[in-house]
Structures are given as C-alpha cells and as structure tokens.
C-alpha cells in the first residue's frame, strides 16, 4: 500500500509539474476544475474512477448500489464547491463474465442517482476488460462564479465546521471486512458505505452565504482532507476532538467490537459530507439558519490559526495525538 500511495502521489506531482494550469481556469487543487464562461457562471468539472478489487468487491456491493455510489461521489465534488450537477459521462470497462442482470441493476442505480439530482447522462465509452471492472464518471456542473467556494479561502480565526457525522462509511466497510453480524446499527453503517448521500442542497445553500470562506468535501477522511484545506489556505488549525460528530450507530458498533470510533472518524474516508470554514462572528446565526433549513446541525469542530499547515488536535483542551492510521480499501 505504501509504495502504491507514493507512486500515485508521485504521478500526481509529475502531472502537476508538467501541466501547469493558469487563469482564467480556477479551482486548481480543488474538488472540481472551474472554467468561467462569458456570462459570469463557472462550469465545474470533476472526474472519479472506481476500480474492482480496490474500491469495491463485486460480491460485496450490489451493482445497483455501485451505480448509485459512483454518481454520488462525483456529485459530492460538485456540492463541495457549491455547484449544481448537470451532465455526466460514463466510461465503463467490464469483462465477458459480467451478466445482463448485473449491468441492468448498475444502470438502475445510476438512473436513480441521475433522477434524484436531475443529471443528464450525455455519453460515454463502453469497452471490454480482461478481468476487472473499471468505472469512470466525469460530471459537469455549474454555479454563479462569485458563489463558488474554494478550499484556499480559509481565514485566520474562522470556525471549522462539518455538515454531518464522520466515520460511518468506513465503519461500515470495517464491519463488512470483519464479518460483524448485522443488526440495526451495523445496517446503518453499511448504508452509509454503500449508499452515500452527498450534501448537495447543503453545499448550494452554504455557497450562497458570504460568511462561508473555504469549502471542500470529506472524501478521504477528516484528517487528510483538513490538511489539504490548511495547505491550500496557508494556515493552521486547532480541532477539538470531543466536538467531532459521531453517530450513535458508530458508537454502539465500536463499543461492541473494541473499535476506536474517533480514529474511524478522523482517519476513515468516503464520508461525503462538507468541511468548511466560517467567519466566527457569523457562526451562531449561520448554524441557526442551517438547522432551520436542513433540520440537521452544522457542527463546529475547531478554529483556523495563523501557523501554516500546523494541525493540532485537542481533547477537552488537552493536546491529543491522533493515531496515524490509513484505512485501505480492499488491499
């Protein structure tokens, strides 16, 4: 895993060095690339690949859920910048052994997602594969340019917030891998893993609020994603771990199985909620309005500081060392 990670990172660094991107293109290093048009809007473009054996196991996820999830993860990238998804392009490679029921259900899942978020699937490429299934979606969205949020706009003194529970999806995957018996709580976690719901309406609403400064989605775990936000914004943060929102189901299942729920919430991934920074003065009003709008909390978890890239975790005010643990997918 380590070598592969290095290799992927090296590849990305190599790409960035060789393909410098300049204005008018925006959103470099963000969840989407932003192409401004002449009318004051921006096209938001994102692309995500899922690979069998790495991101999913064919006998552990239904193709319906896979179809839904592959659209969800792209929608989350559009939501992360406050955009509205519009047009999707699907590339899929599958081997001869795939049967019609599997592809039929995949399309059903995809369709449910497209219908839900009013996305038009406009094209793609369907090809053979020797062994594994590969799926790639490119999703195009749009937003008024002034409302698009970026991850490099955090300001010193901002409150750091998240829009939902963390760690559920990863706990669901862990339950799956460790064959934990399925009760209501485990089922809740599995649902978070198999059928993630991107915070699209929340993203659009938050993007329309001036006091929201930086925004991105949490797809690779809070710890890793917050570090990316801090790096982009050239600032630091103090996070109070007791404020990290943990679902009752996560707490229960963790207790039964001697898991560390905080570790799952911080180092996990595939949460697909939003991470944002908000002017501290406006936080109470924004939290109240958010709660009225969505009937869920906007969780404040920390503060932006002026020490570039220094991320400090505190547990009730006392410095706390996070276990460096990278959950892998299926490797």
């Amino acid at each position: 895993m380590q070598f592969q990670n290095i290799n992927e990172e090296t590849f990305i660094q190599n790409i960035l060095q060789n393909f410098p991107v300049k204005e008018p293109i925006l959103g470099i290093g963000d969840d989407c690339a932003v192409i401004p048009d002449a009318q004051g809007n921006g096209w938001l473009i994102t692309t995500d690949a899922l690979v069998e054996g790495i991101h999913f196991l064919k006998d552990q996820i239904s193709s319906f859920d896979l179809g839904y999830k592959m659209m969800s993860v792209n929608v989350s990238d559009i939501a992360a910048m406050g955009g509205t998804p519009k047009y999707a392009f699907l590339s899929i490679a599958f081997p001869k052994t795939i049967n019609a029921t599997w592809t039929h259900d995949l399309i059903k899942g995809l369709k449910e997602a497209c219908n839900k978020w009013d996305i038009l699937l406009l094209g793609g490429d369907t090809v053979g594969s020797k062994r594994d299934i590969f799926i790639n979606i490119t999703l195009i969205g749009s937003a008024p340019l002034p409302q698009i949020k970026y991850r490099n706009r955090a300001q010193v003194g901002d409150a750091i917030c998240v829009t939902g529970f963390l760690g559920n999806s990863w706990a669901g995957l862990k339950a799956l891998k460790e064959k934990v018996p399925v009760d209501d709580s485990v089922s809740h976690l599995l649902q978070a893993h198999f059928h993630p719901e991107p915070h699209l309406a929340q993203g659009i609403w938050l993007a329309s609020q001036n006091e929201v400064h930086a925004m991105m989605d949490v797809s690779d775990g809070l710890d890793r994603d917050l570090k990316r936000l801090l790096k982009s914004s050239k600032c630091g943060a103090i996070v109070e771990t007791s404020k990290i929102p943990l679902a009752q189901a996560l707490l229960e299942v963790s207790q039964h199985n001697q898991w560390d729920p905080l570790n799952l919430a911080m180092n996990g991934g595939e949460d697909y909620c939003l991470l944002l920074t908000v002017s501290l003065d406006h936080l109470p009003a924004l939290q109240k309005a958010f709660c009225a709008q969505f009937n869920t909390f906007l969780y404040e978890i920390g503060l932006i500081t002026d020490t570039p890239e220094r991320l400090i975790y505190q547990d009730c005010g006392k410095e706390f060392q996070l276990k460096e643990e990278n959950f892998d997918h299926f490797q």
Copy 2:
C-alpha cells in the same frame, strides 16, 4: 469476442433507453455530445477509455506512445465534428508494479499531444488497480454552433469522402501480432498504429464549408462507421472499392504476407481520418481547395443513395461482397 460485443452493445442500448437525451443537447449518437451555450457556441464533449490487455499490451507499446495515442483518439472525436479541443481530464488506474519510468514517459507522451493541440489538462483521478492499467480521458472542445457537423446530415446524392489512407493502423497491429520483420513499410504501418495523427486541422476546415453535410471520424473501420452514418442519416450508399485510398506501405506489406489490403482497410479500425459527405456539385472545388490547404487528397469513394441503410460495395462497377471480418484487438 462475440458474447462480449453483444454485451457491450446491449449495455449501450440499455443506457440509451434509460437515459433519453433531448434538446437543447445536440450530438446524440455522434462522436461528441454538444452542449449549446448562450453565445452561439457549442461545447463538444467526448470520453474514451483504453484498457490494458484489450486496447494495448504493455510490452508492445511504449508508454510515451500510449500517452500520445490516448489523447489523439479523443482529439479525433472533436475533429470529427469540426471542433477545437481545449480541456482534458485524465483518469488513470495502475497497479503497484508500474515503475516511475513508465509513468514518466506516459506523461511525456501526453504532454507532447497537449502541446501540439494546445490542450490544457485540468484535472483527473489517479487510483490504484489490482492488475490492469485503465486510462480514460474526457476531452472538452468548442466550435461555433452553426459550423458543427453531425453524422445524421448526409443528403441523397452527396459524394462520400475520406481524408486519408485506411487500414494502416490495423495492418500495423497485424504485423505486430504476426511478428512480421520490420522494414520501412512495416515501420510506417506501426507508426500509424502507435502514433496516430487525428485530422484536426482538416476537421475544422471542413466544418467551415457549407457544402460538407455529414461528418464523423473513422475509428472502428470504414464499413462499420459508414453504416453508422447511414443509419443516422436514414439513407444508403454505393461505395466503389477501387477508390478506397490504400497506402503504398499497406500494399507492399500485404503482398509480402498474403494479406487482403482492402479487407484491412474496410474492416480495420483506428484510422482516425475523417468520413464525410459533400454536395456533389461542389465536390471538385472542395477537393481542389482541400488539396491546396493540406497538400493531401480528399478522396471520393462513393455516393449517398435513398435506400435507408443499404450499403452496396462495387469493384469497378460490379457488386462486391465484403468479407465480414472483425479484427479484434488482443483477444
């Protein structure tokens, strides 16, 4: 191969049934989807996937050529409708065994293509893969809406033309698979296979000519692609096989190896030249102007007829039965 083909076709049919696309979106069934903007331009969007073991063998194509080729095939789709490529998104999945030299050269090939056609690589996704390499590019181009060419606009009486030699790429692949000793001619065919040059300038120029009615690229072989054009345009065609442009290298290598060059040209693939229909009255002037512009011929190979989807091949006026032979890639 047969079962897989059916499966891929079935999948595409299933997608089309489930995701009907309507105006204002154009280009349905074309090489690109076309999204009109408010200023009279269209965004042209295409996506193409290449899979190891299906579209390429890692030990038979350099990663430089692979990088260049994967961009070329997408550029050809934009060229097919008369657009100018602008922005690319790359998704790549590779296993841990890939070394840095391989990815470095892939990026170099990609960069050569991007520099050549002035394309900005704006983003993508880099992920692991269990075994095979999977590469997907989504390419976005643009063109003035009235100039975009579609494959459903052929008119009865139009001349059918192609912009270059056919069969070279497939003959190159055949030479590779049959381990034909490499001389100058074989080398020429290998170059066509490994380093295809999409007819971008030709596409843009042809799109600006009103007398060009329908256009697409030849990526899956003339026979198969022409049938698609006829189906879209609800017409038929007579093609004079003696007029199919065959390169000297193809003729020579075919003679040495007892290959049927016409069969390679008609049933082959990956030619990446353009197939178009032109008002017969204007053909001579257009051919002259094309030749003056590009120093190559615009080859007339047949005529559009009024019998829907009836494709007749003639050899010097005598009906000719084309061998139904589908060249596969590496299966």
